[in-house]
């Protein structure tokens, strides 16, 4: 697992750097592009963990759809070229403790949940079939719940967008 650990370290470092740039650059579009880098890094981490399907889903959903919509929205409303001075939210410092809190909770959950457990030496690739068996088997109820949430969102979007 040495090679995977080194790769994980490199990708994680790039992701942290990208995430810091997202909140420090003073141009909306640049921030969005740094966010693309972070999300692509997450996809790379999934590949390192031999979770091919999830990595591809990450690219399709987050880079191909969510970020494109982000950029689409900002370009439709305001996205000037060059630095913008008043881009920072006035209460940005509130984000620091909440990020720290999230880090703490996640670390606690991971350490208490997995402790010293190690990944198997040669991680088998999780096949798409296994994933679909899981989703449509034990996780059917959460899957349905999510579908309803999405349906509500779709109907809400239509209601908001209708003229009459």
């Amino acid at each position: 697992m040495v090679a995977q650990n080194i790769a994980f370290g490199i990708v994680a470092a790039i992701m942290v750097w990208g995430a810091l740039r997202v909140v420090t650059v003073n141009n909306v579009v640049h921030a969005a592009l740094w966010l693309v880098l972070v999300l692509a890094g997450a996809a790379a981490q999934y590949v390192i963990l031999a979770a091919e399907f999830i990595a591809i889903t990450q690219v399709l959903v987050y880079i191909g759809a969510v970020m494109v919509l982000f950029l689409f929205g900002t370009m439709l409303t305001r996205a000037r070229i060059g630095a913008e001075r008043e881009l920072n939210n006035k209460s940005w410092w509130l984000g620091v403790p909440s990020a720290g809190l999230l880090l703490g909770v996640l670390t606690l959950a991971l350490v208490s949940g997995f402790g010293d457990e190690e990944l198997p030496k040669d991680a088998a690739i999780v096949s798409t079939e296994q994933i679909s068996d899981q989703i449509f088997g034990p996780y059917l109820l959460p899957f349905w719940a999510l579908s309803f949430v999405l349906l509500v969102a779709v109907i809400g979007a239509i209601v908001l967008a209708r003229k009459d």
Binding site: V29, H30, L33, V36, E52, F53, I56, T57, V59, L60, I63, G64, A65, M67, V68, L69, L71, F72, M75, L76, A79, I81, G82, I125, S127, T128
Partner: protein
């Protein structure tokens, strides 16, 4: 079967695959531009097209590439320079990533992804990002409008494309492109295996939807709202010149080629011939010469499909923006959903 590939050392395999990938992107792009854009369009408009450079103007392409390469690398004064420069590269790299899953023969593949089709759809959607930031960073109203139109169109037509592919995936029972090819060529139509079972027969609706979506994803006329010459100069490409324009240009036609390759795998049986002709039963019994014949078959099918794409391109007028969106959301998406339902019902029934 696997013996051939195992006898080559790993580094040589990787090198061969990288070289093969570059050939698989650039060769179709060049052929498409010469055969269809230069010659076919000219003949359809009662002219000869390029005739001077080489026999029948066949070296015209090299002259054009040479011209573009020696031009100055210009950028607008107020452009966001770094993003302006990397945008075409994002578009082209999505094409190179796309060709990585295309199998050309039993051993002649680049990567053997289990979720092949899904991967292809995912990386093809990355090019939208390049187009959007190209339009934005040009600091030009026409470019920005073109980029926004392109994004709106590509988002709208990506959905029917994904949904059309699902029909094929249900029928083949796999997302791996290699296994989709095998499933079609080893299949039979009600017990008759003289043709295999190309999915264009059973998934005809899916094929039509997929080809329309490809046409829109490539922003070829009738879906060329994003680069509409008569209103937007040339959309998100307006400010590009020299080799960055060349990269956009190669990207456009190379992507046409790669999408045609993927369509030929999904619907026309890919590199294979019906396995019954030579008494093959599975991919392991396919003879080695298919690694040479396979790419040729693929190339032929690609030219056939690109011919259709270009034929439509040169024949129809442009859609209006609202017609274009309405067509995607109100016709293609419901139709492909019905197709998925019918396919799954029939899959369970048979």
């Amino acid at each position: 079967m696997l013996g051939l590939i195992a006898s080559i050392p790993y580094w040589a395999q990787s090198l061969l695959r990288v070289l093969g990938g570059i050939v698989a992107v650039l060769l179709p792009a060049g052929t498409i531009v010469y055969v269809f854009l230069f010659k076919m369009m000219s003949f359809m408009q009662s002219r000869l097209g390029p005739m001077e450079a080489g026999p029948f103007g066949s070296l015209q392409l090299f002259a054009e590439v040479g011209k573009w390469l020696q031009k100055e690398d210009l950028y607008p004064e107020r452009a966001d320079r770094f993003i302006f420069k990397i945008a075409p590269l994002i578009v082209l790299s999505s094409t190179f990533l796309l060709v990585a899953v295309v199998p050309f023969g039993p051993d002649a593949w680049f990567t053997d992804f289990e979720a092949g089709v899904f991967y292809a759809l995912a990386v093809s959607s990355v090019s939208v990002l390049g187009i959007l930031i190209a339009g934005w960073s040009s600091a030009n109203k026409y470019s920005l409008l073109g980029g926004l139109r392109a994004a709106g169109q590509l988002i709208a037509y990506e959905l029917p494309m994904v949904l059309a592919v699902i029909g094929v995936v249900i029928q083949a029972g796999t997302m791996n492109l290699q296994q989709i090819v095998v499933a079609q060529n080893a299949g039979s139509i009600f017990g008759w295996d003289g043709l295999g079972n190309p999915y264009i027969l059973t998934q005809f609706v899916g094929f039509i939807i997929f080809m329309i979506a490809v046409q829109a994803e490539l922003t070829q006329t009738p879906f060329d709202m994003p680069i509409a010459e008569s209103e937007l100069v040339s959309g998100y490409m307006t400010e590009y010149s020299g080799f960055r324009f060349l990269i956009f240009f190669i990207g456009e036609f190379a992507t046409a080629g790669v999408f045609a390759l993927i369509a030929s795998i999904l619907f026309l049986g890919g590199w294979g011939v019906p396995f019954a002709w030579f008494g093959w039963t599975s991919i392991d019994s396919v003879d080695n010469w298919m690694n040479v014949v396979g790419p040729l078959i693929m190339f032929t099918k690609m030219m056939l499909l690109v011919f259709v794409i270009m034929w439509v391109r040169f024949s129809y007028p442009r859609f209006r923006e609202d017609q274009l969106q309405r067509f995607a959301w109100k016709v293609l998406i419901p139709l492909s959903l019905v197709n998925i339902m019918a396919t799954s019902v029939l899959k369970v029934a048979f």
